[in-house]
Symmetry: C2
Subunit: 323 residues, 2 copies
């Protein structure tokens, strides 16, 4: 193994800053486990002056992505720009230059899954994306490694913290959708433009990635029937409650008796005894049924700078062990 | 990678038979993922005539463990004998003979953790034991790989299905401990001699293994303060319920402000809103708090032939990828 692993970081927004901080905070622990040094040596970011609450050597910043691909000392590129482009083009360039890539970018993966995985395979580099679904919850590693002996028949996921927070508050406090959305925006649990979350598009991106991993079936996010939560009323929630149920925005997929795999995103009544029914507020969870393992659930924080950093750095460490 | 991976299986009891069946059932799926053949070519087992509901070539059976260590075609030994001995001696012999080892044996691991991990390291072979804690739940892979960037501060586990089944039934149906135990024994959820489960020794073994992995601290199971569930009464459960709590047999560990790590096994009141409170009947779960990922929970079947086989075969596949 190399004695020093160098990282190029694309993007120093909230998630990038969280990853930078988490690496600095846990660096001694990580380097001890790895038996090698690990450091961020280049950062692609335009905004070099914003106060992020951390000291960053200004010499790390670059506005030229080629400076990262062409740096022979960089082993791994972490992509935290978000959005389909230029992130996809950057990841492809990095892999063609022989860099391993770690990303949290569900939109780019859902849109360009074959391109990205094929580029990694052709260039014999690793592409890892634990943070792209379920934030810090270690579910992609589990599905693609520990659970490999299983054929899966069912998947149910609460994969968006904003909508789960809104539905939890509507349910707990008997409030209307619009009032809770405003409160969530004020508290930073919802974006100023919440469309991608409340219309279910964010969940469809994540379900698209899971379909490839859990069922080996490529489904583009725009081909997943998707209904968001904007039409859910106080009365809907009260009706569900009176029947012993809660309403959750679920990503669902199941294998039919004739081997087809159906999938969709929609608000769903869940019996209160279901393990997913107790997943509240900003938490995410994934429920799976496997041929050997039977029922399984993973639960944790699906977003946020530090939980995302946990998954990103886990991927970085896994790749570093193979360099 | 080798084109054909051969396995020597130690023990064809319930778990061994489940593993044999699960491999046969999912073999095409596993071999496709692996790009190599995978087969059990030797079985160490005295009882060759018992009807296990599967066809097994009698030529696979041996009563001579040396026939497995000395077979140059065997790559991986799966140890499913249970108990500290002769399992420990057999695993050490297998590793000294250059075989990778996969085990579900929490008692042998808890008792001889350094011996087994040191023997693996010295002989440059892999030792994997995902099934030893939490059955089919992929938690050991997550802790040792995906979550590597975290320093953990807290661990709470429901790690024994028998006691969780008994406490769930006492709570749901208002029954006394003795009555539920008899019912659990009749249904096969409790052993004829339930001591290891109800006195908490099984949980202490699992907590001992987790202490090494989660906190890097070796604690022998007999040094973990352990209280079982035999003294829990209907009144205790009613008292907890009246305060909005349930009683669970928990494995607990936490880091104190001065960096010490305390651990114990005991029946514990849990607020009904805690994610572990909804873990019922034979299910297991592990709750962790990490420095980056924050709260995390894994949930699933902690025992049984097929869930255990899921974890064992996941380990076999992970090792096979490196051969």
């Amino acid at each position: 193994m190399k004695k020093q692993i160098n990282i190029g970081l694309l993007g120093l927004g909230n998630i990038g800053t969280g990853t930078f901080k988490a690496l600095r905070l846990n660096r001694a622990h990580i380097e001890k486990q790895l038996g090698a040094g690990l450091g961020i040596t280049r950062i692609l970011e335009k905004d070099t002056t914003r106060d992020r609450g951390i000291d960053i050597d200004p010499a790390l910043f670059t506005q030229d992505p080629d400076a990262i691909w062409n740096d022979p000392d960089i082993d791994i590129v972490i992509e935290l720009l978000g959005g389909v482009e230029p992130a996809t083009t950057f990841m492809v360039s990095a892999m063609k230059a022989g860099k391993h890539v770690v990303t949290a970018n569900k939109a780019a993966l859902a849109e360009n899954f074959e391109l990205l995985t094929d580029t990694a395979a052709k260039n014999k580099v690793k592409l890892r994306y634990e943070a792209s679904v379920g934030g810090g919850i270690p579910l992609i590693g589990a599905i693609t490694e520990s659970l490999n002996a299983n054929v899966f028949s069912e998947l149910l996921g609460i994969l968006n913290g904003t909508t789960n927070y809104i539905l939890s508050k509507m349910s707990d406090e008997g409030l209307a959708y619009d009032d809770v959305l405003k409160d969530a925006q004020a508290k930073g649990f919802a974006e100023a433009d919440p469309t991608a979350d409340v219309e279910g598009h964010d969940v469809a991106n994540k379900l698209s990635i899971l379909m490839s991993l859990v069922f080996g079936k490529r489904v583009r996010p725009e081909d997943i029937p998707t209904t968001g939560i904007t039409a859910i009323t106080k009365d809907d929630i009260a009706d569900a409650d009176s029947q012993g149920c809660v309403i959750k925005l679920l990503a669902s997929a199941y294998r039919t008796p004739d081997g087809e795999i159906n999938c969709f995103v929609q608000p769903t009544w869940l019996n209160k005894t279901h393990p997913l029914a107790g997943v509240r507020n900003e938490f995410n969870a994934l429920f799976l049924k496997g041929s050997a393992v039977d029922d399984l659930m993973f639960y944790g924080k699906g977003a946020g700078p530090f939980p995302t950093a946990s998954a990103v750095l886990g991927d970085v460490i896994a790749i570093s062990r193979t360099i």
